[in-house]
């Protein structure tokens, strides 16, 4: 497998009152083609910043971010992004939000509609297809954002806590759907989560980040086979890896992050 | 203000007609001689001064011939005739030689002004009416830009605008008609007062104006210099302006008032305004020209 996304000694600092704040320091990471990587780490450790770089929305202060071997110069529809803050277009209904990206492709109107319909069904918003975002609950907004990213069916999915606002069952269902799509259509996924269970269940590798300054602490290889089943989730091996990751994250002192 | 009977609030327009007497009265100390002080305020036109008079913010003001319908319709009183002006012309683009050439042409004119009057007189003398031309109403500065840029074929407009702005740009312009060609119709300028002005106070002011008027008639060159100084303009500009003004001595004006000449001037203007619709009917000049006071003040 070749490398899809490559971070090479990436640094990021932000100007703040009285100086610079180092958000990321010397991050290097290769994500292989068709790999599923999850990223965990304490709040504020730079996960969203790292994902933003792969998306082409954040420029590194130093270092290189490559996708398919060439430097990232901006966003592109082949890299779908689900934002931590949903970022729905408030003036469009659920359906039109989902169709937004589709209409930018060369697909026919009927095909757009069809695909949007399918994505909306997938996240269980069929009855709310014509609702405006302001009338949706938090979880429904998040599902709409997921549908929008899924609809264009990008090669790379960059997902920032996509299931954070969902109840456990919806979450499990969407996890399974995501894994199914990933394995069938061979996509590359970079997935940020706070849920260690989720991180281990989904990923081939879990990237554990540390804070102050933001950097990669450990990368845990999840040796478990796909497809991941409920059985695997309950296996002692899963529990062991889960504890490893937990330990890697939380030998750190969270609340000073 | 006029309340204590010593301060005069006087409005004027910044040209030779409007400014010369006030400049002289101040310079010669004529106000002081009569126990008055003057607070003079410059305006851009007559109607604004009439409004200010009406609102009680001004005691006296100056108007040109175009604004005479305002006192005639009872908005204020004329206390003295100032001068006669001969500044208005009908001008045409090069190539136009007579009024009859204007048939069907676009003629710009500020409506209800002395420019409009001269256009009407000239048309009448040529046996035409406004129906024969394409009359385009516009304000004075618009007439200048429109004529200079060739957007109109002719205009009813006046000096100094013709001299300072139009002729330099259109040297070949033709003066098709001029006020000087209508001896029967006079274009007087005047000083007006608040309707409720105190008679004694008013008489004092008239006396000052008469004194200044005689000084102006006796010293025409110095009068131009005084006006230019007050207006902060080139003496040459003001001189060109004054060339189209006829001043008269107070004695002359008194006799013209007595023999009905002034009355004829005023009636002539009123008739014009009735034609344009600015007046419904021509009132008796005695209703708005305080001839008695003028004569009493002159002591004759």
């Amino acid at each position: 497998m070749s490398t899809k996304i490559s971070f090479r000694d990436v640094h990021k600092s932000f100007p703040v009152k009285g100086g610079m704040f180092t958000a990321l320091q010397g991050v290097s990471l290769d994500i292989a083609d068709e790999e599923f990587v999850t990223v965990v780490g304490p709040s504020g450790c730079g996960k969203s910043t790292l994902l933003g770089m792969a998306a082409g929305l954040v420029e590194p202060t130093a270092g290189d971010v490559l996708v398919d071997g060439s430097p990232v110069t901006g966003p592109g529809p082949e890299r779908g992004v689900i934002f931590q803050q949903y970022a729905l277009f408030p003036w469009l209904t659920v359906r039109r939000n989902v169709e937004f990206g589709l209409k930018l492709t060369s697909l026919s109107a009927a095909e757009c509609r069809h695909r949007a319909e399918r994505a909306i069904d997938l996240v269980g918003l069929a009855d709310f297809a014509d609702a405006l975002p302001k009338t949706l609950s938090g979880g429904m907004k998040q599902r709409c954002a997921i549908a929008r990213a899924y609809a264009v069916d990008p090669q790379v999915l960059l997902m920032d806590e996509p299931f954070g606002a969902l109840d456990a069952l919806t979450r499990v269902q969407l996890q399974e759907q995501l894994l199914r799509t990933w394995s069938q259509e061979r996509r590359t996924v970079m997935f940020i989560t706070h849920d260690v269970d989720e991180a281990v269940f989904l990923a081939r590798r879990v990237v554990v980040m540390a804070a102050r300054p933001g950097r990669i602490h450990t990368i845990v290889d999840v040796g478990l086979p796909y497809p991941r089943t409920e059985e695997i989730r309950l296996s002692p091996e899963f529990g062991r890896i889960r504890n490893d990751v937990w330990h890697a994250v939380y030998h750190q002192d969270a609340l000073t992050a | 203000s006029g309340d204590d009977g010593t301060e005069v609030r006087f409005g004027y327009i910044s040209d030779f007609n409007g400014a010369s007497l006030l400049a002289i009265a101040e310079k010669q100390g004529l106000w002081k001689q009569h126990g008055l002080t003057a607070q003079i305020k410059v305006f851009t036109n007559g109607p604004l001064q009439i409004q200010a008079l009406g609102a009680g913010d001004l005691d006296f003001g100056y108007i040109g011939p175009g604004a005479f319908w305002l006192p005639a319709s009872g908005q204020s009183k004329i206390v003295t005739i100032n001068t006669l002006t001969y500044a208005d012309r009908v001008i045409g683009q090069p190539g136009i030689t007579a009024m009859t050439d204007l048939r069907g042409k676009r003629v710009g004119v500020p409506e209800g002004t002395s420019g409009d009057m001269v256009l009407n007189l000239a048309l009448r003398r040529a046996g035409m009416t406004v129906q024969d031309i394409q009359k385009v109403p516009m304000d004075p500065s618009t007439v200048v830009s429109a004529f200079v840029s060739g957007q109109i074929d002719a205009a009813g407009i006046w000096y100094p605008l013709i001299g300072t702005s139009i002729r330099p740009k259109v040297p070949g312009l033709v003066e098709v008609a001029s006020t000087r060609q209508f001896p029967d119709t006079a274009f007087p300028t005047a000083f007006v007062a608040r309707k409720d002005i105190d008679t004694a106070f008013s008489k004092k002011v008239i006396t000052v104006l008469q004194a200044a008027n005689d000084w102006r008639a006796a010293h025409p060159d110095e009068a131009i210099s005084e006006a230019a100084a007050l207006l902060k303009r080139d003496r040459a500009e003001v001189a060109a302006d004054a060339a189209n003004v006829r001043t008269m001595t107070t004695a002359d004006l008194v006799s013209k008032t007595r023999d009905g000449t002034v009355r004829r001037w005023l009636t002539g203007l009123s008739d014009f305004f009735v034609q344009t619709g600015q007046l419904k009917s021509a009132p008796d000049p005695a209703e708005y020209y305080t001839a008695e006071q003028y004569m009493e003040a002159s002591g004759r």
């Binding site: 998306a55 929305l57 408030p90 930018l104 302001k134 | 109607p47 710009g108 109403p137 516009m138 109109i152």
Partner: protein, 267 residues
Amino acid sequence: MSVVTVPDETTPAQPAARSRTGRTLTLNIAAVAIGLAGWSALAAIGVQGLPGPIVVAQRAGELIADGTLAGDVLASLRRVLIGFTLGTALAVPVGFLMGWYAVARGLLEPYVQFFRTIPPLAIIPLAIVLLGIGEVPKIFVIFLAAFLSSVVAAFQGVVGVDRTLINAARVLGASDRTIFIKVVIPASTPFILVGMRVGLGSAWGTLVAAELIAAQEGLGFRMQQAQLYYDLPTIFVGLITIGVLGLAMDRLLLLADRHLTAWQERR
């Protein structure tokens, strides 16, 4: 499925909305009544030269009867509509250019800000020299006023568009053009509508100045004529007609606003 489709209009929401509109209307009428009363009072105590509502109404009747008012309204409305439409239509892309591209901002902003402060009266001589005395310079002066008022609002709207929304569109593959049309314009609609409403006021407010340019009819022209004759009732008829037309157009814009920004969570 708990979405109940109610085909007739008797859902609880409707009467409430209707009564709210009703109350607003009542208040508006009350406001107008108070205004008329105040005006009558001022005229009655004889404020110098102020005609009362009845005199003005009579004059309006005459002007309507002889068709003058209709002609004036048509002429003025045409000028304002064309000038205003062109002005605001240009303001949006120019505001966009200024908000989006630093180079455009650097080049255009001095002009926009400079001309914004120059009175329309002062533009007239130049407009005549360059554009003649037909309809074009009149519409141009109105256009300029509307444009200059709206462009600041459009610009500020573009600058203030939530960055996350732009990013969301970019990652979906939207080009600058698409982002402009599909994100920046809708997101800055509230600002653009403020600009349009202010621009509408400017457009009407400039009408008198515009009709100084050799107009043969129009509300501004009629008012100038009336000023020459000190015909205050006609001036008032003109003022009120302009006010009412402006108000009506403003209501239309407001209606558009309600529809276009229904997605906003608002009080």
